[in-house]
Assembly symmetry: C2
Homo-oligomer: 336 residues x 2
């Protein structure tokens, strides 16, 4: 079914059909009716490839995600979901591309095959090859997270340094003097994962500012890893009475280790961090945390990307979120 067939059945030319569809020139009411009826009857819809070829744009956004092998966190999932939702709201389709692992080809196809009008990139490293690649390709893109050298890229991020700093101050205000920072996995941090580094910087500076004793550890991104990690931490640093973290996936394990050590939260031990809202609320006890507005951020990513596609010359825009810390029930005064 193509536009020519519609034209034939309606007894008009192809261009008239096209103009009825686009509304870019006036068509007599009679023909309009007739054409729309035929379109309806045959359930005709323009061929996307032909349209893309002619118009030079695909009405499709690329979304580059971490490979599946590495399980997506709740927060990442929130980004994906909200990007898809926002794109659908703007009548845009979303092409998913796993990066990393052995998926170079998928990424290359998206970037260089003109399959999309723009790209949204997640899980940004401080030095990120994909960002360089995209920069050089000229394809509009927006990142969720930002690389070290980010002046010329459009991005949206969470201000991990500030948030972790606030968490430390909160614990310090409650009287805690020995505080631990539970980071994401060692591999991720070693690979230059931005939030890991920025959160650590925030932790270190706050610890110094308040004259506290701080210890930081990397921790695998799952419950079992969290359990091991905290067990070791408690053994090596029994003086620690509270922790701050950006590793939501490790928390169930963290809590099990605390329980096993006979420590109650928040009576004997306080936990604060950065996490998705659902996560923080479903945790027991509910987690005192900065609630990352994942839904909003996906939305913004799509908006920014549309803006950039529409007007490539616009100077870069950055959005840095520092949501307030929601006081729940996982932090309390230090017990003597």
């Amino acid at each position: 079914m193509n536009i020519g067939e519609i034209a034939k059945r309606a007894g008009v030319s192809r261009s008239t059909v096209s103009y009825v569809l686009s509304g870019k020139r006036t068509v007599s009411e009679e023909l309009r009716r007739r054409i729309l009826t035929v379109i309806e009857e045959l359930d005709y819809r323009p061929n996307a490839a032909a349209r893309a070829l002619k118009e030079g744009r695909t009405r499709t956004l690329g979304l580059v995600i971490p490979p599946a092998s590495q399980r997506l966190t709740d927060m990442q999932l929130g980004f994906v979901a909200s990007v898809v939702e926002a794109a659908a709201g703007a009548d845009l389709d979303v092409l998913l591309s796993p990066s990393g692992g052995d998926h170079e080809r998928s990424f290359e196809r998206v970037v260089t095959g003109r399959r999309v009008d723009g790209v949204i990139l997640m899980e940004i490293r401080l030095e990120d090859d994909r960002v360089s690649r995209l920069r050089q390709s000229g394809l509009p893109f927006v990142t969720i997270g930002h690389p070290a050298d980010a002046a010329d890229v459009w991005w949206i991020d969470v201000d991990y340094a500030t948030l972790i700093t606030r968490c430390v101050h909160h614990l310090a205000d409650l009287g805690h003097r020995h505080i631990a920072f539970v980071n994401r996995s060692a591999e991720l941090v070693a690979a230059g994962y931005g939030p890991g580094h920025r959160a650590l910087a925030g932790f270190t500076s706050a610890i110094t500012e308040r004259g506290l004793a701080g210890v930081d550890v990397c921790c695998p991104d799952d419950a079992a890893g969290g359990e091991d990690c905290l067990e070791r931490l408690l053994a090596d640093h029994p003086e620690v009475t509270g922790l701050v973290t950006i590793n939501e996936a490790a928390l169930p394990g963290v809590q099990r280790a605390l329980e096993r050590a006979g420590l109650r939260v928040p009576r004997d031990f306080s936990i604060a961090g950065v996490a998705g809202r659902h996560w923080a609320e479903d945790f027991r006890p509910p987690l005192t945390a900065a609630d990352v507005p994942a839904m909003e951020m996906g939305d913004e990513a799509v908006r920014l990307l549309q803006e950039r596609i529409a007007n490539p010359a616009t100077p870069p825009r950055h959005i840095l979120h520092a949501p307030p810390i929601s006081l729940r029930s996982s932090t309390g005064p230090r017990r003597h």
Copy 2:
């Protein structure tokens, strides 16, 4: 950058370049070299839209997911991840389309705009409009889950009836006489969500077969809902000593309610169910459950779809998974 530009710079015709790329006819080694060098230099890649238009296929699969508003379960996430991974492995791209909610347009675009060569559908209802729509459209599709009338559709599913039956037998063997079934949310079940109905059927028949007393309840798909639900259940049916469930998202709440009621798992109360492996393992105590092979199923969905695209006349194939129940630590003998 197009194929003509490459041809000009290499001093050959466009078709020669095209044939070098496709390998569909022999090209002298000298020209081949020259052309490949130019391609390399300019980092040329064929325009996907032009190729799709010419070839009549897009090398893209559609993946229809539930809307983001309704949070994806761990299992659904596993499907998405594995589909994307498998598709990437076959050099196929994946176009994501949220369905339900107010995303009709997105679904219609995918189905009727020839944006994809085939579609993978998730979260199937017994009577599913999207399946009917796809059936009538002639576009090849595979479902994860299956509708009531599924003889002519290609699908992959988990045998919820059998698995829940096994769970009931397992509890019965341990001496439990009063068993509850915790279903997915009432809305989902009312909407004809397949697993909800089939699992319930399996539960009922097993209860009857063993001469037990069974009670079944619907339960919201989140921790808070699970907590409420179990609290009510324990109040109304204090004789119940074990439950089986397909609602993994409710389990943290279920457990909290049990704890609050002073019931220990598995000493005082047994839990068995169907869940993703990670989920079951991370649970405390680790969950005795049939581990849904989500990764494998996404893979199969892509393979089946490729098969169907390649050979539309092949009779439909169905794959029904009934993974064994992994004995972990959430079930034990009834206490007297």
